[in-house]
C-alpha cells in the first residue's frame, strides 16, 4: 500500500518535478529593480565568522562602494557572489530567478557577473587584444571555442573597449609588459567585453598614481548606469570621488549604508574607523 501511495504522490498532476524546472533562467528578471540579493548570508572559516548574517541589496544600474576595515569580509563577500566560496547559510539571488548558490564559477560569469581581482590578473603571455578576445562574451564550451573565428563585428567591439580603457596603442603588445595601472585597466576591459550586468571590482586603484586613479574613477562612473558596478576599496579619497551610495562592512555584516556624508557622520562608523574616518 505504501508503495502505491508513493507512486500516487509521484504522479500527482499538480506539480512539476524539480529536475524538470530549469535551473538557470537566461533572462535576468530585474522587474523589482534589485539586481543582487544577499539575505542572511553567513560563512565561517575554522570558527571565524567572516560573514555574519549579511543582508545586501544592489539596484540595477547603481554604482555602489563597499568599504570597511581589514578583515571586515569584503573580499569574502565577492568570493560568495562569484561562487568561489559557498556560504554556510543564507541565499544569494541574481535578479528574481537566478540562484547563484547553485551555479559554478564559469556559469556565474556567463550569467553576467564579472569580477576584477585585487591583484591584477591578466593573461601575461597573450597580447592585449587576445586577452580581450578570450574574455569576450561567446559560447565558451570546448567545441565552439575550438571552432571559433573572430568576426569583424567582434573585432570592432574589442577595439571599442580598448579605446574605452585607453589601451588602443598597446593592442598587439604582450600583456606582461604593461604597467601595473595598465594591467588594472586591461582587466576592467576584460570584464567589459564579457558584457556583464554586474561588475565586481576589488580594490581597483591599489598601486596607482593620482593621474591613473582619476582616470579609473572616470572609467568606473561612466560604466555605471549601463552596468551595475560594485567597488570594494580601501582608499577613502577615491571612494569619495566616485561614491553615490556607500555600504560599510564591519565584522562580516552591514554597519551602515547611505550617502558618503551620512555614512561619514554616523557615530558607529567613526568608532570603527577611528582615525581613518577622521582623516577623510
Amino acid at each position: 500500500m505504501k508503495l502505491l501511495d508513493q507512486t500516487r504522490q509521484l504522479l500527482r498532476r499538480d506539480q512539476v518535478f524539480e529536475f524538470l524546472q530549469p535551473e538557470i533562467n537566461p533572462d535576468l528578471d530585474i522587474s523589482h529593480r534589485t539586481l543582487l540579493y544577499l539575505e542572511g548570508v553567513s560563512v565561517s572559516f575554522d570558527g571565524f565568522k567572516a560573514i555574519n548574517d549579511l543582508n545586501l541589496y544592489i539596484d540595477a544600474g547603481e554604482l555602489r562602494c563597499i568599504i570597511g576595515p581589514n578583515g571586515a569580509g569584503k573580499t569574502t563577500l565577492m568570493d560568495i557572489i562569484t561562487g568561489r566560496t559557498r556560504p554556510d547559510s543564507g541565499s544569494v539571488w541574481f535578479g528574481q530567478v537566478i540562484n547563484l548558490l547553485k551555479l559554478s564559477e564559469p556559469e556565474i560569469a556567463n550569467a553576467g557577473i564579472g569580477r576584477k581581482f585585487q591583484k591584477p590578473t591578466v593573461f601575461e603571455n597573450h597580447s592585449v587584444f587576445d586577452n580581450l578576445e578570450l574574455a569576450m562574451a561567446a559560447d565558451k564550451r570546448v567545441w565552439p571555442t575550438l571552432l571559433a573565428r573572430l568576426t569583424a563585428e567582434q573585432a570592432d567591439h574589442i577595439d571599442q573597449v580598448l579605446a574605452t580603457v585607453g589601451l588602443l596603442e598597446q593592442r598587439q603588445r604582450p600583456a606582461r609588459v604593461l604597467s601595473h595601472g595598465q594591467k588594472q585597466w586591461l582587466e576592467i576591459g576584460m570584464l567589459l567585453v564579457q558584457r556583464p550586468r554586474l561588475l565586481l571590482v576589488d580594490e581597483p586603484v591599489t598601486g596607482m598614481t593620482h593621474q591613473e586613479m582619476d582616470r579609473t574613477a572616470e572609467l568606473l562612473t561612466s560604466l555605471a548606469g549601463e552596468h551595475t558596478v560594485v567597488v570594494v576599496e580601501h582608499d577613502m579619497e577615491f571612494v569619495r570621488s566616485i561614491a553615490r551610495k556607500v555600504t560599510v562592512l564591519h565584522q562580516g555584516s552591514v554597519l551602515a549604508e547611505g550617502s558618503m556624508e551620512a555614512v561619514q557622520n554616523d557615530p558607529r562608523v567613526i568608532e570603527v574607523y577611528l582615525g581613518e574616518a577622521g582623516s577623510c
Partner: protein
C-alpha cells in the same frame, strides 16, 4: 591554404615537416633501390631505428601539448603509449594463427602455456585490423577521459596531478606484469609474424611502417599546431598562466583540460601502435614510471610549448641513448641526468630556445653590419 596558415609563423615546423618529407622520399630509395654494398645504402636496421624515433617524437608532441600549453605535467604518458602498443600487439598476436610454437590456431602461445582453454572476452575482435585500430585510440582515450574526469573535476593540479599520473602508470605496470591478466605477463607480446598479410621482417614492410610513422608524426604535429593556434589553444595557455582568471572569465577549465588531455592520450596511443610492429615486442616495461619521466626530459631538452622542440628533443635524446648504450652503456644514465641538469640550468627553453636565440643574434649582427 590550411597548411600555409598553420605554418606561417612556425620556422621550426617548416623545417621539421620539410625534413620529414625529404626523409620519406629518400629513405625508401636508399633502402630498397640501392644494393647493400653501396656506400649510400640505408640499412633496414637504421631505417627501423629511425621509425622508432619518429614514434617517440609523436609521443613527445603529445606530452608537449598538455605540458607546454596547458601546464599539466603528466608523468604517466607512457601508459597511454603502452596501451596503444598493446592494442596493436594483440592484433599482431592473433595474426600469428597456428604458426606459434604450440600451433594452436585460436590461442596465443602464452595462453596455451597457462593451460587456458579459450580466448578471454577482452581479446575478442582483435583479429580484425579495423577493430584493433579503433582500440588503439579508444582505450588510451577512454582511460585518459575517466582519469581526467575525476582529477580535473576535483581540481587536482600541479605536483599532485603529476604524482597521480605516475601512480597510474605504475599501477598499470604491476597489473600487466601479472600472468592472469592475459597480456603475456612479464614477457609481453612478441614473436609477431605479419601485419595485414605482409611479412614484418620484409624490407618493404619496414619501409611502409617507417612511412606510416613519418605521416603520423606530420599529421599529429599539424593537428596539435591547429589546436594551439585556435581559440581553444589560447584558452589552454590562459589556463596555464592564470587558471582562476580563466574560470572567472567563464570557461569550464576542467572541460578544456579533460578534452586536451584525452586528445593527447589518443596521440600517444597511436604512437605506441606504430612503435610495436617496428620493434617487434611490447612488454610491461613500457609502463615503467622511468620511461614516462624520460619522455618529459625529451620535451624539456627540446623546449616546452614549441611542439617542434619536442620532436627535436625526442630525436636528440634517443639518438644519444642509442649511441651511449652501444659505446658506453654504463655512462648512459649519468649522461641523461647531466643533459637534463645542463638544459634546465642553461637552456630553460631547450634547443628551440637556443635556435630562436641564435636567430635573433644573427639578425641583429646582420643589421649592425648593414649600418654604415
Amino acid at each position: 591554404m590550411i597548411l600555409t596558415r598553420l605554418l606561417r609563423d612556425d620556422r621550426g615546423g617548416q623545417i621539421l615537416l620539410g625534413s620529414l618529407l625529404v626523409l620519406a622520399l629518400l629513405a625508401p630509395v636508399l633502402n630498397l633501390a640501392l644494393p647493400p654494398d653501396h656506400p649510400l645504402h640505408l640499412s633496414t636496421y637504421t631505417l627501423t631505428l629511425l621509425g622508432k624515433y619518429l614514434c617517440y617524437a609523436l609521443l613527445a608532441v603529445a606530452v608537449d601539448l598538455v605540458w607546454g600549453y596547458l601546464g599539466i605535467l603528466s608523468l604517466g604518458h607512457g601508459a597511454f603509449f603502452a596501451l596503444g602498443g598493446y592494442a596493436m600487439g594483440m592484433y599482431l598476436m592473433r595474426q600469428i594463427g597456428d604458426r606459434g610454437v604450440y600451433g594452436n590456431p585460436e590461442l596465443p602461445d602464452f595462453m596455451v602455456f597457462l593451460n587456458w582453454s579459450e580466448l578471454p572476452w577482452y581479446w575478442w575482435g582483435f583479429d580484425h585490423f579495423g577493430f584493433a585500430l579503433l582500440m588503439v585510440g579508444l582505450v588510451p582515450g577512454l582511460l585518459a577521459f575517466v582519469f581526467g574526469w575525476f582529477a580535473f573535476r576535483s581540481r587536482v593540479t600541479g605536483v599532485y596531478l603529476s604524482i597521480i599520473t605516475q601512480a597510474l602508470t605504475y599501477a598499470l605496470m604491476l597489473a600487466f606484469f601479472r600472468n592472469e591478466m592475459g597480456f603475456g605477463g612479464n614477457n609481453g607480446l612478441t614473436d609477431f609474424k605479419d601485419l595485414l598479410g605482409f611479412d614484418l621482417q620484409a624490407d618493404s614492410t619496414r619501409v611502409a611502417l617507417f612511412l606510416a610513422s613519418a605521416l603520423a608524426l606530420a599529421l599529429g604535429y599539424l593537428a596539435c599546431r591547429a589546436l594551439v593556434l585556435s581559440k581553444l589553444g589560447r584558452v589552454a595557455m590562459a589556463i596555464r598562466d592564470a587558471e582562476e582568471r580563466t574560470r572567472f572569465t567563464g570557461y569550464r577549465v576542467d572541460r578544456v583540460m579533460l578534452w586536451l588531455f584525452t586528445f593527447s592520450a589518443v596521440l600517444a596511443g597511436i604512437a605506441g601502435a606504430l612503435y610495436v610492429p617496428q620493434v617487434g615486442i611490447i612488454n610491461p616495461g613500457e609502463f615503467s614510471p622511468l620511461f614516462s619521466i624520460e619522455i618529459v626530459i625529451w620535451v624539456a631538452v627540446g623546449g616546452r610549448a614549441t611542439l617542434y622542440g619536442a620532436v627535436a628533443g625526442a630525436l636528440l635524446v634517443n639518438y644519444a641513448k642509442t649511441w651511449f648504450t652501444g659505446a658506453l652503456p654504463e655512462v648512459w644514465l649519468y649522461a641523461l641526468g647531466a643533459l637534463f641538469v645542463v638544459v634546465t640550468l642553461f637552456l630553460p627553453q631547450g634547443i628551440a630556445g637556443l635556435g630562436r636565440g641564435l636567430g635573433t643574434w644573427t639578425r641583429r649582427g646582420r643589421r649592425e653590419e648593414a649600418r654604415p
